[in-house]
Symmetry: C2
Subunit: 398 residues, 2 copies
DNA sequence: GGTAAAAAGTTACCACACACAACATATTGC
DNA sequence: GCAATATGTTGTGTGTGGTAACTTTTTACC
């Protein structure tokens, strides 16, 4: 008999008791609904590998908790008694906040991923934490009735471009916003009266793409996001987000790609983000700045930009080559202007990645552009709020 | 209220029932014993967060299964009734096999990590699978009585330097042994009559150092091993071994360190293992080959080797710098000749790593030499066997 | 239209897991 | 020798999911 493989979990963990079993099973069912959309009770039974009667009880409890509801069976066309469809309750919502240099975007996202509202409020100056809170208050004020009568707010999720300590809700450094050692979650919670959480935007984007985007169903992926502020990313390894000992893992923009390169603002030389960046791209496109939506159009419109695009693609491939041998992912997902670069010449990136990887190792790796676009950060920030609810549906009060 | 942080597990998983709770708890207790050594029942109660009576029942079941035994309480010196000491049963053993270019090493390791026997049998030629099996049979024949009367063999664990598909027990490629698409676990199991498993040696070394060596208690670490055949490694992320979608993750020797470097046998340019390697080191040490134990002595004895040592350390630091921003580990553990290199000038590596990392990110990262030395692979291969037993103590029959 | 087969909901009952509490036991400290 | 403390032991209770029998609702076919 052949045994399994290299041990996976090395640390012992703690004991489980009966209530934890129930919690786990409730969590499992609700997570299926949230990630997989409405499903019949019979499907849930199959997916969870639980008994028919158990699934029934779990769904009943979720309905009781107001987290799910059942509707008439769909016409399956198959023989046998039809199974009622179970839905995650989209009226349970997360408020999402995404502060940017020139705007604050506020969203209302329902359980199950339904986007109720998405409002972008431009600002005169780079928003402070206080200003962001005021904008959110204004937006929520505008939908006061709806929130009071229709929605149940699970909390506020804030996506910040910078180094964030999610544990205590403090932004260590967000260079573009000028935030430094700034408590964020606490003041939001205090001002709005909801639970609040803050996290790095690239990490949340990874979560969003994993659940609802190009990474659906994939257990091992690398997400790379290119923005005006540099290259960030996130890694899903074995279905688990890579965090590192202090939560600063997946700083993928500082991967070495050019050992004789120029010095990066991080102190190293030849980092990915000094070689592949939006500034250099916009320069050859003849623009000072551009929204990410415009970049695609510009790339198509300016043939002279070709050499620079190809250079950036080739350098990007070097970093991806390292990621391939380090993570052996199933998929590499490119967001922001990296998605535009990819779109400009998918074949070239594919060829360069294969050349920059251990022979054969990159062949089965999918290269893809991120799918969620404008909904990316809102979806990710909502996951931040829903995480607690999904982990313990019965125990989370809000 | 401030919510936790970025969601970790993204996929829903499956449901749990009562027997799984029991299995999990048995596994938890046995794993504590195996990793943490003999402990009192009271300590186990504390660690597992289970009730006193439950711990009692679990230990009783483990004793019943022959996987643990209890001894008289130690003199704690504290007030209160003394608690009996529970031990993992070291008579439950794994047979370990480590084929090398010029020898096959066979070990007998007990649950709890006790090394009963370690035998190295030199070979005239590079051993084939068949030859390895014959050597193991000879060695086991020599201790036939002991095995029949004293030990209970849980299985055979084989550590192979090469690309291994642990799932089906086939070695895809072990260049130094000349094995290619070679079924290994199956023939071992058939010939010896025990369950058998095979895995990559560097991955097993990572496991061993994590549990019994320099990485004890650490949840995030990078292990880098340098041998004659190149640089391999393993990564523990959040207490879980990094595996990748096909099990080929952590090919750390092929991290880019020199973008104008020479071509590596893997097809890329400027890989870590083309720049940092034992061959180049031995050259300046004036030797054709040397056991790893000799390298330390040689380094101390040949001052002229200094420039090459420093060059290799500096290049190694570049790779570590990338690993620091990618994994944000708590500890980097260096084994094989990389351990010797480190030992030659720890301060230099520390300085180079700091310079090659995002400012401040490397400061809290420990750099350490691997601790297990000659026991490394035997311990790792034994873990391969014990993994199943630890995961399901009551369900594993052997 | 009626009947059989299939699939799934429902319900009552069971096995078993851990917690809890009361009690027994073994130690220290005074 | 007694109180305090910690722990083992035992019996009881709550809650978990599984099981099996029954019911309901559908399709397929005659």
């Amino acid at each position: 008999m052949v045994l399994a493989s290299v041990p996976r979990r090395l640390s012992p963990g703690v004991g489980n008791s009966n209530d934890q079993t129930r919690r786990h099973n409730l969590s499992t069912v609700l997570t299926f609904l949230h990630h997989g959309g409405p499903q019949s009770r019979a499907q849930l039974t199959g997916l969870s590998a639980l008994n028919r009667s158990t699934t029934g009880a779990l769904v009943a409890e979720l309905v009781e908790l107001g987290l799910a509801y059942e509707t008439e069976p769909a016409d399956s066309g198959r023989v046998g008694r039809p199974s009622p469809i179970v839905h995650a309750n989209g009226k349970v919502v997360a408020i999402t906040v995404n502060p940017d240099i020139d705007a604050v975007t506020v969203g209302v996202v329902g359980l199950g991923g339904l986007l109720h509202h998405l409002v972008r409020r431009e600002t005169d100056a780079v928003p402070t934490v206080g200003a962001s809170i005021r904008i959110v208050q204004e937006v929520l004020d505008g939908m006061r009735d709806e929130i009071a009568t229709e929605f149940r707010v699970a909390g506020v999720g804030i996506a910040v471009p910078g180094l964030v300590n999610s544990r205590d809700g403090v932004v260590a450094l967000a260079p573009h916003l000028g935030w430094r050692d700034e408590p964020v979650a606490e003041p939001f919670a205090a001002a709005l009266g909801f639970r609040a959480a803050v996290a790095n935007d690239a990490a949340l984007a990874t979560v969003a793409e994993s659940i609802f985007g190009a990474g659906r169903g994939v257990q091992d992926l690398v997400y790379l996001n290119g923005s005006a502020s540099g290259i960030g990313g996130g890694v899903l390894a074995g279905g688990v987000m890579l965090r590192g000992s202090r939560g600063y893992a997946a700083e993928l923009g500082h991967t070495l790609v050019n050992s004789s390169g120029i010095r990066c603002h991080c102190g190293k030389r030849g980092c990915l983000e000094t070689e592949v960046n939006l500034g250099l791209l916009l320069q050859v496109l003849g623009r000072d700045s551009a929204g990410l939506d415009e970049v695609d159009a510009l790339i198509a419109a300016v043939p002279d930009a070709r050499p620079e695009i190809e250079r950036q693609l080739d350098v990007l491939a070097l970093a991806i080559g390292t990621f391939v041998s380090v993570f052996n992912p199933e998929s590499i997902i490119l967001g922001g202007f990296l998605g535009s670069l990819y779109e400009a010449d998918p074949a070239r990136l594919r060829a360069s990645v294969n050349a920059a990887s251990v022979v054969g190792l990159a062949d089965p790796v999918r290269l893809e552009r991120a799918r969620l676009r404008s909904r990316l950060l809102t979806t990710g920030a909502a996951e931040l709020v829903f995480a607690d609810l999904l982990a313990d549906p019965a125990g989370t009060v809000f």
